[in-house]
């Protein structure tokens, strides 16, 4: 399989600063509970990093 570059346009061409952040239900790895992403920014700002082990 050829090396592929990340699809940068998907990042650059949608969801801009100043817009409302979309909300999703995510699973907390430690507790197993479902956590709305929006709960992070309910009381103050949120810093959210995306990533994986590899």
């Amino acid at each position: 399989m050829a090396r592929e570059m990340p699809p940068f346009d998907e990042f650059r061409n949608k969801l801009f600063v100043g817009e409302k952040a979309p909300d999703f239900d995510l699973e907390d790895l430690t507790t197993g509970e479902t956590v709305p992403l929006s709960s992070l920014w309910k009381k103050g700002p949120a810093i959210i990093e995306f990533g994986s082990f590899t």
Binding site: M1, A2, R3, P6, P7, F8, E10, F11, R12, K14, L15, F16, V17, G18, E19, K20, A21, P22, D23, F24, L26, E27, D28, L29, T30, V35, L37, S38, L40, W41, K42, K43, G44, P45, A46, I47, I48, E49, F50, G51, S52, F53, T54
Partner: protein, 159 residues
């Protein structure tokens, strides 16, 4: 990834009512040892392996197997976003550069605090930013993931 440095930033900002989290996405460079997830159990297992290996301190939140959240936010492998209280996006970084994240956060907070007194109004800007690239650590990660991850990333490399 700059896991420890991002943890340090999260710790420094925690007393300013800032929440930090790590959203576990699909594998960026899957290999024989850490494969592409086809079930939530796959994702949980790899996320736990990452948690143990990296000692990440921030909460890990698992995206769906389909990657719904990751896709909505632009699907790059190591983005960082800052969301203001109430849900307005105030920063989007295509990669995670700790200094850039902290700079953006401080600029936002500083402006909010001085907004009325100094008659500040926000505006939109884009710029290049810089991050440290740990090539040795990255290559170690490919080897850890398995031979397939190495050959996918370095298709022309001969042993």
């Amino acid at each position: 990834m700059a896991t420890a440095a991002m943890d340090d930033l999260a710790a420094r900002l925690a007393d300013r009512t800032v929440s930090s989290a790590f959203i576990y996405t699909r594998e960026a460079h899957p290999g024989e040892n850490y494969r592409h997830h086809t079930t939530m159990d796959d994702k949980r297992a790899n996320a736990k392996a990452y948690q143990e290996h990296s000692s990440v301190q921030r909460p890990i939140l698992l995206d769906t197997v389909e990657g719904d959240c990751h896709q909505a936010y632009g699907i790059l492998p190591n983005m960082t976003w800052i969301i203001g209280r109430g849900g307005i996006i105030i920063y989007k970084g295509a990669w995670t550069g700790v200094e850039d994240v902290e700079d953006a956060f401080n600029a936002y907070i500083d402006g909010k605090e001085r907004q009325i007194k100094d008659q500040l109004v926000p505006f939109y800007s884009e710029r290049f930013s810089w991050r440290t690239r740990n090539e040795e650590g990255f290559n170690e990660g490919l080897v850890r993931a398995g031979p397939q991850a190495v050959s996918d990333f370095y298709p022309d490399k001969k042993d």
